[in-house]
C-alpha cells in the first residue's frame, strides 16, 4: 500500500439489485406463463379463444420479448449492478440514474405487454416494439451506460476484472445493434416502416437477432458467470488467462455469424459463407469459456450434492456448452437445410434460454437472496426440487423439439421417383405427425414454470419480514491511480495500434486487388511485420506495458471493443446498403403493392403471421418442388419490413398469389380446419367485421416513396378510388362463390395482399464482366 492511499468505507447500492431481481422473477413468471400458453395453442388451437389479443401470432412476440428483455434483462442488470460495485470497489455513481434505469425499464416492459397483444408491431422478430418504445429503450440504455461508465471512472480498484469487460461489450454492442435495426420512418404515432427493405432488412435483422442472443443473452451472463461462480465455489476462476482469450475471440467472432440465419436464401453467397465459417469458429471461444466455468468448480464438486446454487450454475454452464455446440452445427449449410424453419431451432433457443439463462438466473438469485436480506434461504430442499423439476422440464421440451424438428425437416424435404416428386405433398402431414410432441413440449414448459414458481415462493419467504441490507466494504483509495489514466487519444496513437492498422490495410490490399497492387500490398505487409519485429527488439517490452495500462483504462478499452464489433458489422452490412439494387435483382423485380394490398400487408404483419409462415423459397429441392421456383433477391426489394420468417409452422407463402381462389382464403381465415383438416392455425373472425384503415394509406404510401418504393405521386382521392375499386372487385368475386362480405372489411384487404404474393416483372440481367469473374 502506498503512502498516498486513504482508508474509506463504502456502502453499496443493493436496493437497485433487489429491485431488478424481484422484477426479473415477476416478469420471468409472465414470460413462462405466456410461453406455456402458446406452446399449448400449437397442440389445441381452441386455446386461441377466437380473440385477437390471445392469438399465437400476437402472443409469441410477447413471450420472446418478455423472456429476453424482461426476464433476462432484469436479471442481467441485477447481476451487473451487484458485481460491478464490488469488482471496482465503488458505489454506483448515481442513485438517481439507477432509479431512472429501473423504473424506465419496467415502464418499457409494461408498454410492450400492452402494445404487442394489441397488434402494434414492427413485424421483425425480437424487434417488434413500436418506434416510441424504441426511443425509450435507447434513452434508458444510455442512462444505464452513463451510470456504468461513471461508476468505472470513480472506481477504487485500478484493474478491470474480465466480468467488467463482458459488461462493456454488452453495453456498446447492444446500443449499436438496437439503433441500426430499429431505424424507421414513422407513419403515425404507433406505426412505422423500417428504413431497410428486402435482403438488406433481412441481413440487418439477423445481424441484430443473432447478436441479441450474443450480446444480451450471452456476454452479460458470462460476466455474471465469471463473478458469481468463483464466489459460490469459493475459489478463483480456473484460468484467468483463458478468460482473456475467451473474451477477445468471442467478441471479435460473434458479430460476424448473423447470416447463418439466412442460409440457402436470397442472401448473397459470400455472406452466407461468412456466416457459416464464423459460426463454426465460435465453437472455440464458447467452449473455452464453458470449460473455464465448469473447471472453476474443481475441488468443489462434492458441494453440488447439497448446494442448489452450484447445481444451477454447473447445469447452466453445461447448457451453454450444449447450445454453443448445437448452434455452429446448425450453421453448417447441409445441416441447416434440415433444421431451418423447423422445431429444431425452437429446441435450440430454449436449451439456451431455459438452460443457460434461466439456470444461471436461478443460481444467482438463490445466492443473492440470503445476502440481500441477511437471512438464510427459506428452503434448500425446495430449491433442489426446483432444480430437478426445471431440468426434467428442459429435457422434455428440448428433446421433443429435436424429434419434432428432424421429423418436419425430413418429411418436408423427402422426395421419391428420383427426386422429382414430393413424398409428402400435403404440408399438414408434417403437422399431424408431430402433434403428440407438442403435448410433451407443453408439459416440459409447464414443469419448468412450476419450478420457477417454487423459486418465486422461496425468495419471497426468504425476504418476507427480513431487513434488506446493503453490503459495505473498506477500501484504500489510491490517489496515484489517477496518474496512470490514459487519454482516449493515448489509447490509439501508439505503435501497437498503428502497426495493427497497417497490417489490416496491407493485407486487405493484397487479398482484394490483383496484379501490381496486390504485390504492393504483400510488400507492405512484409515490411510492416519486419518493422514490428525490429520495434519489439529495440523497445524492450514496452508493448506489454501499453496493454497493461489499457486494461486499467476503461475508455480506450471500450473503444477497442467497439472497433472489434464494428468491423464485423461494417463488412457485412455496408456492401448490401450501398449496392445499386436495380442491377442485382436476379432478373426479376417486385411490383409495388397496390394501396389495398399494402393495407392487407399491414394486417398480415399486425396479426404476426410471420411467426408461422415464411416467404422465402430456399435453393433446395424440397422447397422448390413444394412451393415453386426459389425466391429471387428482386422479389422482395420493396418489402419494408421483409417477411422471410424463421419458422414454418404453416407452409411458405412466397408464391401464394393465384394458387387458390379468393373464396379459399375467405373460408380458410374464417375456419382453417374447414379447408385444411388437422390445421392448428387460429380462426380470425374479427377480420370479417373490422373495417380496413384505408384513411391511413396516403401517409403510408408517402413514407414508402421516401424509402425508395416507386409509387406514383397519387392524390388521396386516387388512393381512395384505387382501394374502393379493388375492394369491390374482390367482394363481387367472393359473392359469386357464396361468401357474402362488405367490401371495406379487413379480410378483403388481406386477400388482396395474399393474392399478390409471388407476382413480379422480369427484367434484363446484365452479364457479368470478365473483370468481375476474375475477382
Amino acid at each position: 500500500m502506498t503512502t498516498t492511499a486513504t482508508k474509506t468505507r463504502i456502502e453499496f447500492d443493493d436496493k437497485t439489485v433487489r429491485q431488478f431481481m424481484i422484477a426479473s422473477i415477476f416478469w420471468g413468471v409472465v414470460a413462462l406463463l405466456v410461453g406455456v400458453l402458446i406452446a399449448t395453442q400449437l397442440a389445441w388451437f381452441q386455446l386461441n379463444f377466437n380473440l385477437p389479443y390471445l392469438t399465437f401470432g400476437r402472443l409469441r412476440p410477447l413471450h420472446t420479448n418478455a423472456a429476453i428483455f424482461a426476464f433476462v434483462g432484469n436479471m442481467m442488470f441485477a447481476g451487473m449492478y451487484y458485481s460491478t460495485q464490488r469488482l471496482v470497489k465503488a458505489r454506483t455513481a448515481s442513485d438517481l440514474l439507477s432509479k431512472i434505469h429501473f423504473w424506465g425499464w419496467q415502464a418499457i416492459i409494461v408498454a410492450a405487454a400492452i402494445t404487442l397483444p394489441l397488434g402494434l408491431t414492427r413485424g421483425k422478430e425480437y424487434a417488434e416494439l413500436i418506434w416510441p418504445i424504441n426511443i425509450a429503450v435507447a434513452v434508458i440504455w444510455v442512462v444505464f451506460a452513463i451510470n456504468f461508465f461513471w461508476t468505472l471512472a470513480r472506481r477504487n480498484e485500478p484493474s478491470l476484472y474480465v466480468a467488467i469487460w463482458f459488461y462493456i461489450a454488452t453495453i456498446i454492442t447492444v446500443a449499436m445493434l438496437y439503433i441500426v435495426n430499429h431505424l424507421s420512418l414513422p407513419t403515425s404515432l404507433i406505426h412505422s416502416y423500417p428504413v431497410f427493405g428486402g435482403v438488406q432488412d433481412a441481413l440487418v435483422q439477423w445481424w441484430y437477432g443473432h447478436n441479441a442472443v450474443a450480446f444480451f443473452l450471452t456476454t452479460p451472463i458470462l460476466g455474471i458467470m465469471y463473478y458469481f461462480m468463483p464466489k459460490a465455489a469459493e475459489r478463483p476462476v480456473y484460468s484467468y488467462r483463458l478468460s482473456v482469450v475467451h473474451f477477445w475471440s468471442l467478441v471479435f467472432v460473434y458479430i460476424w455469424a448473423g447470416p447463418h440465419h439466412l442460409l440457402h436464401t436470397s442472401l448473397p453467397v459470400w455472406l452466407q459463407s461468412l456466416g457459416m465459417i464464423f459460426s463454426l469458429m465460435l465453437w472455440a471461444p464458447s467452449w473455452g469459456g464453458m470449460l473455464n466455468g465448469l473447471l472453476t468448480l474443481r475441488g468443489a464438486w462434492h458441494k453440488l450434492r447439497t448446494d442448489p446454487v452450484l447445481k444451477f450454475f454447473a447445469a447452466g454452464v453445461t447448457f451453454y456448452g450444449m447450445a454453443t455446440f448445437e448452434g455452429p452445427l446448425m450453421s453448417i449449410k447441409a445441416v441447416n437445410a434440415l433444421s431451418h424453419y423447423s422445431d429444431w431451432t425452437i429446441g435450440h433457443v430454449h436449451s439456451g434460454t431455459l438452460g443457460w439463462n434461466g439456470f444461471m438466473a436461478a443460481g444467482m438469485f438463490y445466492w443473492l437472496a440470503p445476502r440481500l436480506w441477511d437471512r438464510k434461504l427459506h428452503s434448500t430442499s425446495l430449491a433442489n426440487m426446483h432444480f430437478w423439476l426445471g431440468l426434467v422440464g428442459i429435457l422434455l421440451y428440448v428433446a421433443s423439439m429435436w424429434v419434432s424438428g428432424v421429423t418436419q425437416g425430413l418429411m418436408l424435404s423427402a422426395t421419391k421417383e428420383a427426386g422429382t416428386v414430393l413424398a409428402y405433398p400435403n404440408f399438414l402431414d408434417a403437422v399431424t405427425s408431430t402433434k403428440s410432441l407438442m403435448h410433451i413440449r407443453a408439459l416440459g414448459g409447464a414443469m419448468y414454470l412450476v419450478g420457477f414458481l417454487m423459486l418465486a415462493y422461496n425468495i419471497w419467504r426468504t425476504a418476507a419480514g427480513a431487513q434488506p441490507v446493503n453490503g459495505t466494504i473498506e477500501v484504500y483509495v489510491d490517489e496515484k491511480h489517477a496518474q496512470k489514466q490514459l487519454s482516449l487519444a493515448g489509447g490509439f496513437i501508439n505503435a501497437p495500434v498503428v502497426y495493427s492498422v497497417l497490417v489490416i490495410v496491407f493485407a486487405t490490399i493484397w487479398a482484394a486487388f490483383g496484379g501490381i497492387v496486390s504485390g504492393l500490398g504483400l510488400c507492405g505487409l512484409i515490411a510492416t511485420v519486419l518493422a514490428v519485429m525490429g520495434h519489439v527488439e529495440f523497445s524492450g517490452g514496452k508493448w506489454a506495458d501499453w496493454y497493461n495500462r489499457l486494461l486499467e483504462n476503461s475508455l480506450p478499452f471500450t473503444a477497442l471493443t467497439a472497433m472489434a464489433v464494428f468491423i464485423g458489422g461494417i463488412v457485412q452490412i455496408v456492401p448490401t446498403i450501398v449496392i445499386n439494387k436495380a442491377a442485382n435483382i436476379e432478373g426479376v423485380r417486385q411490383i409495388p403493392y397496390t394501396p389495398l394490398q399494402l393495407a392487407g400487408r399491414d394486417i398480415y404483419i399486425r396479426e404476426g403471421c410471420y411467426n408461422c409462415h415464411s416467404q422465402q423459397i430456399r435453393t433446395l429441392v424440397g422447397d422448390v418442388l413444394r412451393y415453386g421456383e426459389y425466391s429471387k433477391l428482386g422479389e422482395t426489394i420493396y418489402d419494408h419490413p421483409f417477411q422471410w420468417g424463421s419458422k414454418r409452422t404453416g407452409p411458405d407463402i412466397a408464391r401464394e398469389g393465384g394458387k387458390y381462389p379468393d373464396s379459399w382464403h375467405y373460408f380458410h381465415m374464417l375456419n382453417p380446419r374447414q379447408i385444411s383438416p388437422g390445421s392448428t392455425m387460429p380462426n380470425y373472425p374479427w377480420l370479417f367485421t373490422r373495417r380496413t384503415e384505408s384513411d391511413l394509406l396516403p401517409n403510408k404510401i408517402k413514407i414508402q416513396r421516401r424509402l425508395g418504393v416507386p409509387y406514383p405521386e397519387w392524390t388521396k382521392e386516387e388512393i381512395a378510388q384505387s382501394v374502393a375499386e379493388e375492394e369491390q372487385a374482390i367482394a363481387v368475386g367472393l359473392r359469386t362463390a357464396g361468401a357474402e362480405i362488405e367490401p371495406d372489411r379487413e379480410i378483403v384487404a388481406l386477400i388482396a395482399y395474399l393474392q399478390k404474393l409471388g407476382k413480379y416483372e422480369k427484367v434484363a440481367v446484365p452479364k457479368p464482366t470478365q473483370h468481375t469473374a476474375a475477382k
Partner: protein, 58 residues
C-alpha cells in the same frame, strides 16, 4: 455479387481470409496472455473473492 447460383472465384478466398483473421486474433491473444505477469493474474483472479460485509451475512 448477388448471383447466388453462380459462385464466383473470389468468394473461395473468403473462408480462408475468415479463418486467418480469427486465427490471428486468437494467436495474438494467446501470446499476450502467456506474457501476463503471474502476480497480475493472481490479483485479477482474486478480485471476486475479496469479501464485503454481505459475505458474512448468510
Amino acid at each position: 455479387m448477388f448471383h447466388r447460383i453462380l459462385v464466383e472465384d473470389w468468394q473461395r478466398v473468403l473462408t480462408i481470409i475468415s479463418f486467418s483473421i480469427f486465427g490471428l486474433v486468437f494467436l495474438l491473444m494467446l501470446l499476450r496472455v502467456r506474457r501476463l505477469p503471474r502476480e497480475e493474474v493472481q490479483h485479477l483472479e482474486n478480485l471476486p473473492l475479496q469479501n464485503d460485509t454481505d459475505d458474512h451475512a448468510r
